[in-house]
Structures are given as structure tokens and as C-alpha cells.
Amino acid sequence: MAFSEQEIRQLARLARLELTAEEVRMVGPQLERILEFVQQLAELNTDQVEPMTTALDIQNCWAADQVADGLQRSAALANAPQADGEHFLVPPVLPGGNG
């Protein structure tokens, strides 16, 4: 399974990683090795197996709808690169957004 340079750049863009040309050449073969390793699973016939969504053998863990204390604002903002005492500050974003 070979990656084109374009595919690597697209993956990097989605992950917000800035890769140099050198890094793109380096990462490609590494990703290929990882996928080849996982590819071994394809040897198994899974036609009759239901897709598994969790490795845990439990279901239905819930919490009651009750409010509990969270973080103090000062604590929540303490590690932010930038804050104004009330908000996290980030480089300008246009209104609207994603999602």
C-alpha cells in the first residue's frame, strides 16, 4: 500500500501538521509500514462477524442528570497560552465556523 505525496500532504493538512518536503518523504514509508502491520488482520475471514464497536464487555454506563462542580475559571484558564481573565484568547476566527 503506497502513499502518494499528495495523500500525505492531505493527511497532514487534516491533522494541521506542517511537513517539510523531507518529512513528507520520510513519513510516507513509515505510514505504509504501520498499515502493512494492521493489514495482517485482513487475512481473517470476517464475513460472518458483526463489527465490534468496543473492546469492553459492558453496556449502559450512565450518570444521573445532576449538576456537580467543575473547575474554577482561574484554574481552567491557568494553562491557556493566552487569556483575558474571562476568556481563552486565540488568533482571530471568522464567525460561523465549522461543524
Binding site: T54, D65, A68, R73, E86, H87, F88, L89
Partner: protein, 497 residues
């Protein structure tokens, strides 16, 4: 058949609309942590390691969010699958601290369903709108950008992060802006009735995205225009106007550029409420790039049939059923039943309580629509703060029905009660309203007839309307006299002579 251009020079076209509606579920805590969901708190005061996406935090599902989602799904005629799970939707945005949103991809909590729109008083027929699905997901935070303060930085408030949303996705079954508005009104009525959501667009507890395109019959060919998703509409009116604007914009764009669904991919447009225009936000959708995968931090949900059945049994009467019942039980016209039911459960309860005491549902319906609803609107108050209790209004209307109080006097009492509250007895006493007994009525009639011989002749000559002058005089002598009773007694006396 070949389609030709109309008076505006346009070929016939049909607007195809599908809606994605996000409603905030009425829980007190968030979907995966126990931070408060209260609206309007100071920024970043309702956050914790889970909704901030700090390393090592473990999300736990809010049971009430599951309950409310199933309730919504059942009311929307959705199939509730026995198994549902959580997936991560990856994207980067400053108001999404985890770098992914927990959502549901291939196994949503509510599968296919539909919502029936009732027929309207303007003659629009009833219509069934299909739903693809409804899934649970967490909300993102809020980013604020102050353009006037220079474009240096944006401020982020993460209070809303993790608030439970149910995203309801319709099939492309809607055919006009007005129909989209009807759908939203009916959906809001249903979800507020069941206390699933407040559905307040202004507070963000209901948000709508509309997918719009056109099917144009140009000559003998069928043209499909590129799909546009409209965002940022902040009221039902805005949704209606945005879709109306967008459908004509797409028609013009097709005439100008020939763009079709084959040549232009889906785009995202915003809605400018001031200019009343849609505008391009994103040229290309990148939906394939969210790279959903099952969230390993969360456990799947199994919903045994018994649990779903229990929620179904507790649903109670839905607004559409109330409409039908009002028509049969109270013989209300569909329009009147619709007006009352559309006001929501509080007014429905008020109506029924008044009608029960009054013993006259049609009169109750008329008074509630004309007097109660108008007052609420004029005084911008909620029914919960309305000064006239349902039994009091019921007693008042019973008196009107029985004939012991005429409409005009009853309205005086209504106004008095509005201003002063209290009981019906207190109001009638304060207004000097006393029942006029038979002997008083007889005396009054005798006096009037003695003083107005000509009226007697006129009535005998077939001019019953001549009695009107006597009723006016009687009202001046004794305002408590009931015009109907007076009229009847006068006639008896004239005919007896």
C-alpha cells in the same frame, strides 16, 4: 410536454428543501459531564476537564439525555434501534477544545421517522415530512470576534461545550419556504409540549440549517441546481426569508452561469438578516474529511424494547391528538382547535379548565382567543402570570351562558379582574353588579311601557327593533339589567295586553 416561461420570464421550478435542526435537550447537566447547561452564565464558569478535553478525563453519558432523545424519537414516529453508539467527528476549530465532537455516525439513537403537518386555515393541505434520522451529539463552545476592537484576537467561551443536542435530519420533502416554517412550528410545538427542548432560537436552543436546490423544467429538459446549505438563520422568519431568497438566487444563477448539480459541488451560504441576502461562506464541502470513528472512551447504549415501550406509554397526548380531541369532544372548528393547541400545553390546560366550569366550550374558545390571548399579547405576559384563574373565568362565562350576565357586562368584569385579580364575587360586588330579580324587572318594564306608548304600537305593528330604544333607557336606569331578559319580558307584556 414542453415547459415554457411564465410572466416573469422564468421556467417553472420546484424548490427542494431538507432541514437539519439542532435542538438543545432540556437537561440540567451536559451530555458527558456534570457541568451545568444553564444559559447566560459568566463565560467559562461551567466547564470541567471532560468538556475541556483535558488528558485523562472520562466522559459518562447523561441518562436523561437518552431519555429525552427517545421521547423525541417516538413523538417523531422514529424507529428506536436496540443499539446505538458514539463516534468522533474530527475537525479543528478554536471552540472545540478536544479537536473532535462526540456525535453519532452510522447508528443514531433515532432511525427513520416522520412529522405530519396539519392543514392550515389558509388552505394548505396536511402533509407528511419524512425524517432520515435524529442523533445525539455535543455542542461546541462560542467564539466571539469583536471587529471594532481590531482583528487581533478572538475570545472563546466554552460554557456551551458538551451541551446535549439532538440533530433532526429531514428528507428533502419540503417544497417551499412557508412549508419549512410550518415544519419548524409543528416541531417546536411537539418538542416544547413534551418538555424535550425550549426551542428558543434566540438562545441557541434551536438551530436550523437548510439544504436547498431547485428542479427546473426548462423546455423539455429537467435541470437540477447545485445544493446550497444555508446557515446562521436566527429566527423562523429568517429561515423562511432565507429559503425564499436562495431559491430565486439559484434560479438566476442557473440562467446566468448554467451551473447544475453535476458541475458545481455543495456550497455553504450564510444569511445576512439585515441585507436579507444569502452569501457564500464555503465554496466546497469537505464532509468526507471528518474521519468518523467509534469513540473508545464511551460505551455503546443498548435500549431494550421494554424501556422504549415505557417511554412510549408515558408520552401522553400529543398536540396533533389534542387537536382531534378538541374537534370531537368540544365540537370546536379545526381552525379554533389549531389556534389553542398551537399556543402550547399551558393554554391547552387553561382552556380545558375554563370550559369545564363554563360548560360552554365554544364560548370559552372565543373568549380565550379574543380576550385572553389578546391581553397576553398586549401586556407581553405569560399565561402563568395571568391574573384571572381558570375557574374564575369559567364562572364568569357560565353566567353569560345562563343569561344572568350579558357580554358587555362580562367584559367589564373581565377588565376588572385583569386589573385587580380576586374572585368573581369580589369583582361583581365592586362593579355594583347584582342580579336583577323578577319583581324589579317587572317594575322596570311597566315603567318603560307606560312612558313609551309609541313603542308598543310599533312592536304590535311588526317593528320589533323599536324595542332597542327601551333597552337603552333601561340600561341607563339600571346597568345590571340583562338586555336579553328585558327584551323577552317586554315582549311578553306587550303581547299580553
Amino acid at each position: 410536454m414542453t415547459a415554457t416561461r411564465d410572466d416573469h420570464g422564468r421556467f417553472p421550478f420546484e424548490t427542494i428543501i431538507g432541514l437539519e435542526v439542532h435542538v438543545q435537550l432540556k437537561t440540567v447537566s451536559k451530555l458527558f459531564c456534570r457541568c451545568s447547561t444553564k444559559f447566560g452564565a459568566a463565560p467559562n464558569t461551567q466547564i470541567c476537564p471532560v468538556c475541556l478535553g483535558l488528558p485523562g478525563a472520562l466522559p459518562v453519558i447523561n441518562q436523561q439525555a437518552i431519555e429525552l432523545s427517545i421521547r423525541a424519537g417516538l413523538a417523531l414516529n422514529c424507529r428506536i434501534p436496540e443499539f446505538t453508539k458514539w463516534d468522533r467527528k474530527q475537525y479543528f476549530y478554536p471552540d472545540l477544545p478536544k479537536g473532535y465532537q462526540i456525535s453519532q455516525y452510522d447508528l443514531p439513537i433515532c432511525a427513520e421517522g416522520y412529522l405530519d403537518l396539519p392543514e392550515t386555515d389558509t388552505g394548505e393541505a396536511a402533509k407528511r415530512i419524512g425524517l432520515f434520522r435524529a442523533h445525539l451529539e455535543e455542542d461546541a463552545g462560542k467564539s466571539m470576534h469583536d471587529e471594532t476592537g481590531g482583528l487581533t484576537q478572538s475570545r472563546i467561551d466554552l460554557n456551551r461545550c458538551g451541551t446535549p443536542l439532538l440533530e433532526i435530519v429531514t428528507k428533502p420533502d419540503l417544497r417551499s419556504a412557508e412549508e419549512a416554517r410550518r415544519f419548524l412550528l409543528e416541531l417546536k410545538l411537539l418538542l416544547t409540549h413534551l418538555e424535550i427542548s425550549d426551542c428558543e432560537m434566540q438562545e441557541g436552543s434551536l438551530r436550523v440549517d437548510a439544504n436547498v436546490n431547485l428542479h427546473i423544467s426548462a423546455g423539455n429538459q429537467k435541470v437540477v441546481t447545485p445544493i446550497v446549505e444555508i446557515k446562521n438563520m436566527n429566527s423562523f422568519r429568517a429561515v423562511e426569508r432565507a429559503i425564499g431568497f436562495e431559491s430565486l438566487r439559484q434560479y438566476d444563477e442557473w440562467e446566468e452561469t448554467g451551473a447544475t448539480i453535476q458541475t458545481v459541488s455543495k456550497r455553504t451560504f450564510g444569511w445576512n438578516d439585515v441585507r436579507e441576502q444569502t452569501f457564500v461562506q464555503r465554496e466546497k464541502e469537505e464532509s468526507a474529511d471528518y474521519r468518523y470513528f467509534p469513540d473508545p472512551d464511551l460505551i455503546p447504549v443498548a435500549l431494550p424494547a421494554e424501556r422504549v415501550d415505557a417511554i412510549r406509554a408515558a408520552l401522553g397526548e400529543l398536540p396533533s391528538q389534542t387537536r382531534t380531541r378538541f374537534e370531537t369532544q368540544y365540537q370546536l372548528k379545526p381552525y379554533d382547535a389549531d389556534v389553542i393547541v398551537n399556543q402550547g400545553p399551558t393554554l391547552v390546560r387553561y382552556f380545558e379548565a375554563v370550559a369545564k366550569v363554563a360548560g360552554d366550550a365554544k364560548r370559552t374558545s372565543a373568549w380565550i382567543q379574543q380576550d385572553v390571548m389578546r391581553t397576553l399579547k398586549e401586556q407581553q405576559c405569560e399565561l402563568n402570570d395571568f391574573p384571572i384563574a381558570a375557574p374564575t373565568l369559567g364562572q364568569l362565562l357560565r353566567k353569560v351562558t345562563e343569561g344572568s350576565l350579558d357580554n358587555a357586562r362580562a367584559r367589564d368584569v373581565f377588565q376588572y379582574l385583569l386589573r385587580h385579580g380576586g374572585t368573581l364575587d369580589e369583582a361583581t360586588k365592586a362593579l355594583g353588579i347584582e342580579a336583577v330579580d323578577q319583581s324589579e324587572l317587572d317594575l322596570l318594564c311597566d315603567r318603560l311601557l307606560a312612558e313609551n306608548a309609541k313603542v308598543i304600537d310599533d312592536v304590535r305593528g311588526g317593528k320589533q327593533q323599536a324595542l332597542g330604544a327601551l333597552i337603552g333607557q333601561a340600561k341607563r336606569i339600571n346597568p345590571n339589567v340583562n338586555p336579553g331578559q328585558l327584551r323577552q319580558r317586554l315582549l311578553e307584556k306587550i303581547n299580553a295586553v
